[in-house]
Symmetry: C2
Subunit: 358 residues, 2 copies
């Protein structure tokens, strides 16, 4: 148990007052070179760490954070992200932080653009960006940087930008691992169907493309010859999907493995369930309630989890620590890629809430 070193103790050792120590700690200026050095030495020597509890309650300033992420319905991926952000807010309650959300339609470039355009005018102290359109995010990010406003990416990164941090589950590795698991589950040579919904209007920032690349990399490295067929899928006209999927299965009766590179695994799982198809194994992404349901009924074999709740929590926490304590975070934060099965799903989901709770 480290006995508590107070600012007062440091001040005494440095031969100054508490106020001066505080000024040094927070880089507030107005400290003579001599004193600054003395304080820094004392800080070092006594291994001082600010008591965050006290710090939290004494802070006066109010911060505004804007959060630009896609719209979502109940049970969708971004809902968990927001839950994590909210948890961070609660955990640091008393910190006078105001959040403003700007949601956009992730399938509509113009919606995204117009959401992003408002951000600067809100004059935030920091921002959280969930980027789905590369060029728009690139533009916004660099505007923020120019304005000196720190921001973090959530579930995304955009090259050529300077975020304070980003949180993402590496999509390449995700695809690679999915290839490994599905081929392990169905054995060599068995036919695989792959579903990859491509976003309209911008393909470049689409993580499913990178996942596909990871998937193919595994194929190549392991010289696999499992035949691959593609399942067409439309986000815009979902009523067509039943027929599109049916065609694939009828024309390719040898399919034994199915890979869904988005969080829509449940769409295929529902098809399998309705048609009582039991000889295929499906691997999907994200622990949406509908996916979990299919996992539990045995229509999905593996789910890949990306911890969206933690991404949200960490994004917000990172901003807090930076804004308030000037803590510089690690920029690149790769989330664990969880492998979830019928057996471990229950503990996994229960822990989303408790695990990180303060």
């Amino acid at each position: 148990m480290a006995q508590k070193i107070r600012i007062k103790d440091v001040a005494e050792l440095a031969g100054v007052s508490a106020g001066t120590v505080d000024r040094v700690i927070h880089n507030r200026g107005n400290v003579s070179k001599r004193n600054r050095k003395a304080v820094e030495d004392a800080l070092q020597q006594m291994n001082y760490h600010t008591n965050l509890h006290v710090s939290a309650i004494s802070l006066k300033k109010t911060y505004k954070v804007v959060i630009a992420i896609p719209q979502y319905s109940e049970g969708e991926y971004w809902e968990s992200v927001v839950a994590g952000i909210t948890r961070a807010l609660n955990r640091y309650s008393g910190l006078n932080v105001i959040c403003e959300y700007r949601h956009y339609n992730q399938f509509d470039l113009f919606s995204c653009r117009s959401a992003y355009e408002q951000i600067l005018s809100l004059r935030p102290d920091a921002a959280i960006i969930g980027a789905t359109f590369r060029d728009e995010a690139f533009y916004l990010a660099n505007q923020l940087t120019d304005a000196g406003i720190p921001f973090v990416f959530i579930d995304s990164v955009v090259e050529g930008t300077s975020p304070l941090a980003y949180f993402i589950a590496d999509p390449f590795t995700c695809g690679y691992l999915m290839a490994k698991l599905i081929t392990m589950a169905i054995g060599p040579d068995a036919e695989i169907a792959i579903m990859q919904a491509v976003r309209v209007g911008d393909e470049s920032a689409n993580t499913t493309i990178v996942r596909k690349a990871g998937f193919m990399k595994y194929y190549e490295e392991h010289k696999l010859h499992n035949p691959l067929v593609r399942i067409p899928f439309s986000v815009v006209n979902p009523e067509q999907n039943e027929e599109l999927i049916g065609d694939v299965f009828q024309q390719n009766p040898a399919i034994r493995g199915i890979v869904v590179l988005s969080s829509r695994g449940y769409v295929i799982a529902d098809y399998l369930r309705r048609h009582d198809i039991r000889h295929t194994k499906l691997i999907g992404i994200d622990t949406l309630p509908r996916n979990i349901d299919a996992l539990q009924t045995g229509h999905i074999e593996f789910l890949i989890g990306q911890r969206p709740e933690q991404q949200g929590f960490l994004a917000m926490q990172t901003l807090f620590k930076y804004l308030i304590y000037k803590e510089i975070p690690r920029t690149r934060n790769l989330m664990p890629i969880d492998i979830i099965t019928k057996e471990n799903v229950e503990m996994y989901t229960e822990f989303q809430h408790t695990a990180v709770e303060g």
Copy 2:
């Protein structure tokens, strides 16, 4: 952002002073029935939540927590548990908690007994118990209960006791899942070797036995006929193991899968590495550095993770919340059973530290 309701606000509404409200909140007695009711109503009505930051710094009482867990060397399982406990201590620093450790030799019943015997005499306010010997833990637990001292189990539970909470990765499910993964990896019919080190002196509390039961359950449910051979292993005379293991592999050249039901997977992995055996797949438990190393070199195919660090953190945090804020925790806490491969291990280990950090 909920605007902050202060004790003072509640007091005003209830028509009493802050002191009285505090007495009600903490059940300190000395409040008239009338006032208690008024305060409770006001609390409810204003949806008051104590500001934990402030609360933490104003607390005066000192708590003593004793922690009775096995001795460990660097890189072993319990090291992570202690890391988690330490992290909780740091997170709630300023709470005046004194920890006393009582380590025992987990392979020596008498060592455990003598460690447990000291605990009561230390007059702790709470205890954390890592139980490996059932009868001893049973006895201690009930003594603590009789003395009114709350305690939590870590990485264990003992039937017939009343812990405040326990944290454990369900060993039955763990074994079951291992059976699923290994047979998936090597296919049906292939021969499997299994290593299960049994603790000397007490078999009943040994989690490896339950894991084995889970393993066999999967076998039974799926009518598997993969032949099983057993790898003998001695914790007490480790120098014999090389020969024992060698014998098994020479006499059973058809072995394709290996299951290690303890955290000693690296022992077999090292053997495989030294003898350049490449046609077998090994599944083990726990992310010890040596296991992770073997995972990365490809000598272990799957590791099962039990989040020991989080177990430690949560155990300590649970006690804090109970002792200080009288929060009643959920008793049964099943940790996620993580599936770790070469592909996701890096993110997984990096996150042990950052993920839950405050």
